[in-house]
């Protein structure tokens, strides 16, 4: 009997501190699997942002470095310009990437920095306990929109991927989801494509991954999947936006 699916070797041999059903784990797993398939175990380097997302750096078997909240793309610019041969994965939450860090995110994309940004869109600030993010859906209840997000006051969800896809410089912009096996496989393909572009020196790529935060959505993981299917993917249509 052959092992046809195994735990990737770039994952640490202890469990993550993500909550049950949190799809940060899925995203990190995919990064590791792609790194293995591309044989870049020795050249992949990760950026740890601020958010629940930060934890990814603590359980992958390659170097990762931390950055202040939102500044991942700037720090990554400084790093990658000097280590062009390493494959740099800038892993960020939606709050980190699209709220406080929007300026750095967009300018790095516009300069065409040769790295890959992977943004986990779970529509909330996970780590701080579920406040509204720019990505929060209209009417969504969060701890800072307790009556449901009022778009008159807080604005429509910020479709960052579309915004970046609208710039001329970025090479590849895509949105995928992690709530179905099909979605996970497509997400993996997208990550692979992004890494390949980077390895070829092709420039900037942006991969948004829709994800669940059962804890702050106050849902079971199962209900979170249902909600993603019925609501989240409607606001955030899945697919390649550019490249």
């Amino acid at each position: 009997m052959e092992k046809v699916y195994e735990r990737n070797k770039l994952l640490a041999n202890f469990n993550t501190s993500f909550c049950p059903g949190c799809m940060h784990g899925t995203a990190v797993k995919l990064i590791c699997e792609v790194a293995t398939e591309l044989g870049i175990e020795d050249s992949i380097v990760g950026v740890m942002p601020i958010g629940c997302s930060v934890q990814w750096g603590m359980f992958v078997n390659f170097d990762t470095f931390g950055v202040p909240h939102g500044r991942a793309a700037a720090t990554a610019t400084g790093y990658k310009r000097n280590r062009p041969d390493n494959v740099l994965v800038v892993y960020q939450g939606d709050g980190d990437c699209s709220s406080i860090g929007l300026c750095e995110t967009v300018h790095a994309a516009n300069r065409g920095e040769n790295f890959t940004v992977i943004m986990i869109n779970n529509q909330v600030y996970g780590m701080t306990g579920g406040q509204a993010a720019p990505t929060t859906l209209p009417g969504q209840k969060t701890t800072t929109s307790q009556a449901g997000k009022n778009i008159e006051e807080m604005g429509n969800p910020l479709n960052l991927a579309e915004m970046i896809a609208g710039l001329p410089t970025p090479k590849y912009v895509t949105r995928q989801t992690l709530h179905t096996p099909k979605g996970v496989l497509a997400a993996k393909k997208a990550i692979k494509k992004a890494f390949e572009i980077q390895i070829d020196g092709g420039g900037y790529s942006f991969v948004e991954l829709l994800s669940a935060c059962p804890t702050n959505w106050k849902m079971t993981p199962g209900n979170a999947v249902k909600y993603m299917n019925e609501v989240v993917t409607k606001q955030y249509p899945v697919g390649d936006l550019k490249g």
């Binding site: 994952l11 469990n15 059903g21 899925t26 179905t180 199962g222 999947v225």
Partner: protein, 67 residues
């Protein structure tokens, strides 16, 4: 015969795998692991097709699939 092995150490009992198994083979088991989670167990092992969907969806890489 295809089968899966759940590493109880990594499983958080989230149940995502339960929902995706076309044969509905996975359930929360009766026992808890060190972290306090009722980890997943496969039932009716012989019906497993080794389709890997459960492993693919698992956020905690707790499932290995054999075929």
């Amino acid at each position: 015969m295809p089968k899966i092995v759940v590493d109880e150490k990594f499983c958080k009992g989230c149940g995502l795998c339960f929902g995706v198994c076309p044969k509905d083979l996975i359930k929360a088991g009766p026992n808890v692991n060190a972290a306090g989670y009722h980890y997943a167990v496969q039932q009716r092992e012989d019906e497993c097709t080794g389709c890997k969907l459960c492993a693919i969806i698992c956020p905690d890489s707790a499932i290995e699939v054999y075929k």
